[in-house]
């Protein structure tokens, strides 16, 4: 009853809430709406005012479907999404089950596996540029020392760029999902495993019928995060591939949006790409949430 007395006077509410919602309104909601408006306008440069509507006003939306580079970046972004499911979450799941099964050393593996997430993707991009260097990079040197290749491999050419771009992105985030999954595994009570052992379930049976169902919801959380996170991948591809190396084949929606804003000064088109990213994000999270509906056990 006291609660209602303490919090009956509503005037402090304004002091508590106004700062947060000013920030949200001014720097998120208002720009979000302006961005939608901008996508119909003709804006030549970041710093100049709009010069009226586009002719026709939906011109940019039409371009989205006819622009070959845009199609490439969409396709690549979808590939990144698929790979995050298989590699980021998949490897994390395998590693977490393995660490959980040995019981010891979980702390060590957590620390080591998580480390790449703390490092800025920009620094990792530089590091992987050195690793995949054409002349004398780590990988080419290793292959050369083992005499597996006769000529250096150009890791950023048409045949290898996808691997080179995806590997660091996948590698960096395995530790993140590993920590989430191992936390889920730690919460499975020992009693259940004991009961299973008495019933004769061990090894793969134990994983299939006990572990996986019990961490299903945690796994779903990981999948949703990984797939929606794929839309935001920017830093590593930007540092490693720059402007869509080789020949515009490695564009992602995010890097292509930045390029259109900064290098081509096509601000209204960039705004349209940003809207596409939002729509894609909403649709994908809706579908993913439907497919991996949380279950009650």
């Amino acid at each position: 009853m006291l609660r209602s007395t303490i919090y009956k006077k509503k005037s402090p509410l304004l002091v508590f809430l106004i700062p947060a919602f000013i920030f949200l309104g001014l720097f998120l909601f208002y720009p979000f709406i302006v961005n939608i408006v901008n996508s119909f306008m003709h804006i030549q440069d970041l710093g100049t005012a709009a010069q009226g509507l586009n002719q026709p006003f939906y011109d940019n939306y039409e371009r989205l479907f006819t622009d070959a580079d845009m199609v490439t970046s969409l396709k690549n972004t979808l590939i990144v999404m698929g790979c995050t499911v298989i590699f980021q979450v998949g490897i994390a799941l395998v590693l977490s089950i393995l660490v959980d099964s040995i019981g010891k050393g979980a702390g060590f593996f957590r620390t080591v596996y998580f480390f790449p997430i703390v490092i800025s993707a920009t620094a990792l991009g530089l590091l992987f540029n050195l690793i995949f260097l054409f002349r004398g990079g780590m990988v080419n040197q290793l292959l050369d020392n083992l005499q597996l290749v006769t000529r250096n491999i150009d890791w950023k050419d048409e045949n290898h760029f996808m691997f080179t771009m995806l590997l660091p992105v996948m590698w960096q985030y395995v530790g993140f999902y590993f920590v989430i999954l191992i936390t889920g595994l730690n919460n499975i009570s020992t009693d259940i495993y004991e009961a299973a052992a008495i019933d004769g379930a061990s090894g793969f049976k134990r994983i299939r019928f006990i572990t996986l169902p019990l961490i299903y919801n945690v796994l779903c959380t990981c999948l949703v995060l990984a797939i929606t996170g794929a839309l935001k991948v920017f830093d590593l591809p930007w540092v490693m591939m720059g402007t869509g190396m080789p020949l515009g084949k490695s564009w992602l929606t995010a890097t292509y949006m930045y390029y259109n804003t900064m290098s081509r000064g096509d601000v209204d088109y960039a705004s349209t790409i940003a809207i596409l990213i939002v729509v894609l994000g909403v649709v994908v999270s809706f579908v993913v949430n439907k497919v991996f509906k949380e279950k009650e056990y």
Partner: protein, 299 residues
């Protein structure tokens, strides 16, 4: 959430016949292999940052000793780039973002948990909705707005830093508020009631009781906001254009595009950036891991 975060380390019973089998050996091999993939690249870049420039391309897997060992790369890197300024800029931006995010979202979280008022549901929905806006969809209008205010695209170092601080704060508020709401909700209201009876007003209750009690979750939120801001490249590339405004990530981006073939000082630059983070991580790793996964692990 708390129950999950304080994961008990359950030891599984050693099952019969599972003492030291080939399977266990294979398990260790796989786990150690992945550990090497995360450790070795950093080890490799550190050793090569001390290697004489010409040898990196031919002999990068040994530990540099004798004639191969040099501090040259560091001298060159430090001579060409102003790491000190970049560190100051990064720390100023991330520290201010973190402090403001904590203050602003803490107050909002407290009000949204404890007060009952009309429109509360709408405000909460707006909060959740704002987490859906990727930075790409707001950055152009924010830049144009700030340019009109005279904040963005200026040569003044501190004003330029403010122009990147403001949108970064906004980008962290929703997430932080939601995490803090979860914690404040779990605090016993009796403490606030007795403080009230002792004559405290709500502001005193918030700053003197709630904030100290919620310190662990404030730490979680602070670590998340700090690292997010510190590692951000996208919005910093938009707002900071001149070398005296460069943060660590921008300087790296610049080195990357200009270093050409001088791999020695690229390696040195990576080490200069990574090692401080590595040291902080070693001391605070439990809190950092908790902070960065807080959004995903909910109870």
């Amino acid at each position: 959430m708390k129950a999950l975060l304080k994961a008990k380390r359950v030891r599984h019973p050693v099952l019969p016949g599972q003492k030291f089998t080939p399977i266990k050996l294979l398990t260790f091999a796989v786990l150690i292999f992945w550990a090497l993939t995360t450790i070795y690249p950093f080890f490799w870049v550190i050793t090569n940052s001390f290697r004489v420039r010409g040898e990196i391309r031919s002999d990068s897997f040994t530990i540099p000793t004798g004639d191969s060992f040099t501090f040259d790369n560091y001298e060159k890197a430090m001579g060409r780039y102003d790491f000190g300024t970049a560190y100051v800029n990064s720390l100023v931006v991330s520290t201010v973002v973190t402090i403001v995010v904590i203050l602003v979202s803490g107050m909002a979280a407290y009000a949204l948990v404890r007060y009952e008022f009309r429109g509360k549901k709408i405000l909460y929905s707006l909060l959740i909705a704002s987490m859906m806006f990727p930075v790409f969809s707001t950055i152009i209008p924010v830049f144009r707005m700030e340019a009109a205010w005279g904040l963005a695209a200026t040569t003044n170092r501190w004003i330029a830093l403010i122009s990147v601080i403001l949108p970064q704060i906004a980008g962290n508020i929703a997430f932080s508020t939601v995490v803090l709401m979860g914690f404040i909700r779990s605090l016993p209201i009796e403490i606030e009631e007795s403080a009230y009876l002792d004559g405290c007003n709500v502001f005193k209750i918030y700053f003197k009781m709630i904030m100290p009690m919620a310190r662990p979750s404030f730490a979680t939120v602070a670590i998340f906001a700090f690292l997010w801001s510190y590692n951000d490249l996208f919005s910093q590339m938009f707002f900071l254009r001149y070398p005296n405004q460069f943060t660590i990530t921008l300087m790296l981006n610049d080195i990357n595009s200009q270093a050409g073939t001088n791999y020695g000082y690229m390696a040195a630059a990576v080490v200069i950036i990574v090692v401080p983070v590595l040291i902080v991580y070693m001391f605070l790793q439990k809190n950092i891991i908790k902070g960065l996964t807080a959004g995903a692990i909910k109870g």
